[in-house]
Subunit: 252 residues, 4 copies
């Protein structure tokens, strides 16, 4: 990914390239913190993940992904001045993200559950906070700022691929059982280019760039907390204190 985004940023002239490099380096720092500190990531990287843990993670992925197309489109529905190209990007991108939560659900089922065996509970607190934040950002403030979320979300494979690979080998999964990540890493390469393009084209002021930077950092931190809540729910499940997830015990 370093190579890939380096390439994307290098398409722009010096000033914009410098700004992208700043975003990329802040992102790298933030990911470093998450990857080092998250007990969920550590457990996975130590080869200790089981299907219940990964299932829980896919369930929360389902939860927030359900809202991604919706809040992406919401940006474009706002009244007021918005560049036509940016509105079109919002709707087109929303269309492409529509239904992706079903891939997460598919991958959960591939672990060994039929659809009937899955009772989807409310999202975990950290997941709901992430969802709430993305709707708020999409509906309020600078309309460009949701690009800060896309900036890391479409660009995360450099960081999370090692984690996914480890999951894959630990749980002996095939690509066809990891559709959410495999499909996204393909789709998102193109998206990442478009996201860079939107940012470069429409962020005109210092403030525009700051809004994007802030939403990038805040939403990634909130995503980090989702990992923590997933791990905590897993510990509760192991201890027999998470009835709402007991359907996952079939996998354990």
């Amino acid at each position: 990914m370093d190579t890939q985004t380096a390439t994307i940023a290098s398409n722009y002239d010096a000033d914009v390239k410098k700004r992208f490099n700043r975003l990329e380096s802040l992102l790298a720092e933030e990911w470093k913190l998450i990857l080092e500190q998250s007990p969920l990531i550590r457990t996975i990287m130590e080869g200790k993940a089981d299907k219940r843990l990964f299932g829980l993670y896919m369930l929360e992925t389902y939860q927030y992904t359900y809202h991604n197309a919706r809040n992406q489109a919401l940006v474009g529905t706002r009244s007021g001045e918005m560049p036509v190209k940016y509105m079109k990007f919002c709707f087109e991108h929303a269309e492409e993200e529509t239904g992706h939560e079903l891939m997460a659900l598919h991958d959960l089922m591939e672990l060994g559950l039929s659809r009937d065996e899955i009772t989807i509970p409310a999202p975990l607190p950290a997941t709901e906070v992430l969802i709430a934040y993305l709707y708020y950002v999409s509906a309020n403030g600078n309309p460009l700022r949701r690009l800060g979320y896309s900036f890391w979300a479409e660009n995360c494979y450099g960081y999370i691929n090692p984690v996914i690979s480890k999951i894959k080998s630990t749980l002996q999964l095939k690509d066809s059982q990891l559709t959410f990540f495999v499909a996204h890493s393909n789709i998102d390469e193109e998206h990442a280019v478009e996201v860079y393009d939107m940012i470069a084209r429409f962020c005109k002021t210092e403030q525009d760039w700051q809004h994007v930077e802030r939403v990038m950092l805040v939403s990634l931190r909130l995503q980090g907390r989702v990992l923590d809540d997933v791990f905590e729910a897993y510990k509760r499940l192991e201890a027999g204190n998470a009835n709402e997830y007991s359907f996952l015990n079939k996998l354990g």
Copy 2:
């Protein structure tokens, strides 16, 4: 158009075809009323329209078209169960409609106004009522029902082409000065097919069809009232009582 929509409806099996034929025939009745009773239409068909009248009409077209992509996308942002294909249709269709108000503005300018000479006032009351209704329909009730608006809006050229032709000859306009109508009648042929398809595919119950029928009729009636408000504003402008539109007098 009769031929065209007849063709579209005839792609479906007997039961669905019958339902489409009912929608088409209700639509034909409603258009007949509007075309016969509207003083705006009468004035145009008698060759008495001037550029101010057409300018006023394009201004209101600008007003509601500004909101069409927005309320179309809003349907897809709603939470709850919605078929993936229908959500995608909402976003894709919204993307295609984005910025179409600029065509209306372009055509207004082509009548003989520079952008600086145009001060866009608030929409006329009937236009604001139409806008309000479409947002309400898009955000509330059966998510399929906004298709009732698309059903007539994407299918209106059989009814309004004679009116546009008359305007064109009376005001001696070229196709390049009527981009809104020319572009839409091309785009919308394809859209009409998609709208029939969405309705046929997702209207499962008697109620679904009734919701679509109702929104079709109500939104077309509200559109008819826009024509009436445009004509009334024109009369006020002629009488020197419509200051907010006085910039149009340059065309008169």
Copy 3:
């Protein structure tokens, strides 16, 4: 009422009083049109209303009243600059209007229906258009403009009391069977004073007053169309073509 509102307006200094008098006189003209042209009103005033007709009217009153507290409060939830006193008015007024739809339902039952016998159908088209317009006005544009609706709604008893009296004598109803109108005409005297006060205090510019005037006229016209739709639904019911209202036939 003439006396009452004259008194309210006379509390203000010459300029504001003149503006209120303009609103009042536009209102009087609009009511005159409605009262003269509405076939529903004519039928009532000729003593020809039956319980089904009044029941239908109360049902639509239920429908839009259900939304009044909600859209009133919505005004206060908008972000941006708003005077504290006006926000407080919005919430306080919303609180007072909460549940008033239940009075309309009570009065419908008093005509001779138990709660179980009433199946509330969707609002009539004109009622839904009124509801949609009030939400749009409450959520968009000048936040003061919803006062235009309150201006006539809290002040309508001078116009409609003769109609209610006629209904009362024709159908031989007691005050306790007309709680919606009796309670409102009491509550609303005080509200009318507050509405005048809010308008006088916060309408600073010519535009503010125009927004209020426009919403007053448009919402009253939309209310007039509700009367027309009620009458048309009644005719359908009489002709046996309004299944959704057939439960009212028990009253006929």
Copy 4:
């Protein structure tokens, strides 16, 4: 406070009292964590707070309090079934909270700033996350769940009074310079009783109580993060890296 809420809970019968006691004890644990771990609280309790630190805190208090009346009222504007008494509570409570952000602003000015010297920047990230969460909770899911926020917010004086007292003595402030806290601790005693009452009256199912419990815990945790962000911003200000707050240096 222990005494106070103990008294409130003891008004209810055994089952409801037990549930309140659970909420209260979870709340006590959560506060304990916040009070012990927050570097902001520690700094204050060690008598090391300066006016800039307290000013920063009042600024963020201004930010989220600005939205409290709005999101409280939003609960009541939702469509669907809602008890009349609960809707009324939402609007009445919103009315009482309206404008309270101005008390926070007043207290900030009392530290030694004129209104012109204050340039209100965007809320800190943690503050915006709290705001976003409260809007989401108010607009989505179980309508009762926002009571979980009120439950701790109207009931927090037992926990924060020692902190406010310490601030007061450290910065030598009078009650008239602490209007936000002094006014609230008076108003909120009554509110707390009403909040208990709403919860006891309308939480019928296990799920209702769980929703309230969850929002109580999540929103209090998010509030704890606001304290952390305030402290971090203070450290940046001290280090000369928080330009947006440099107006506070006049107090330092």
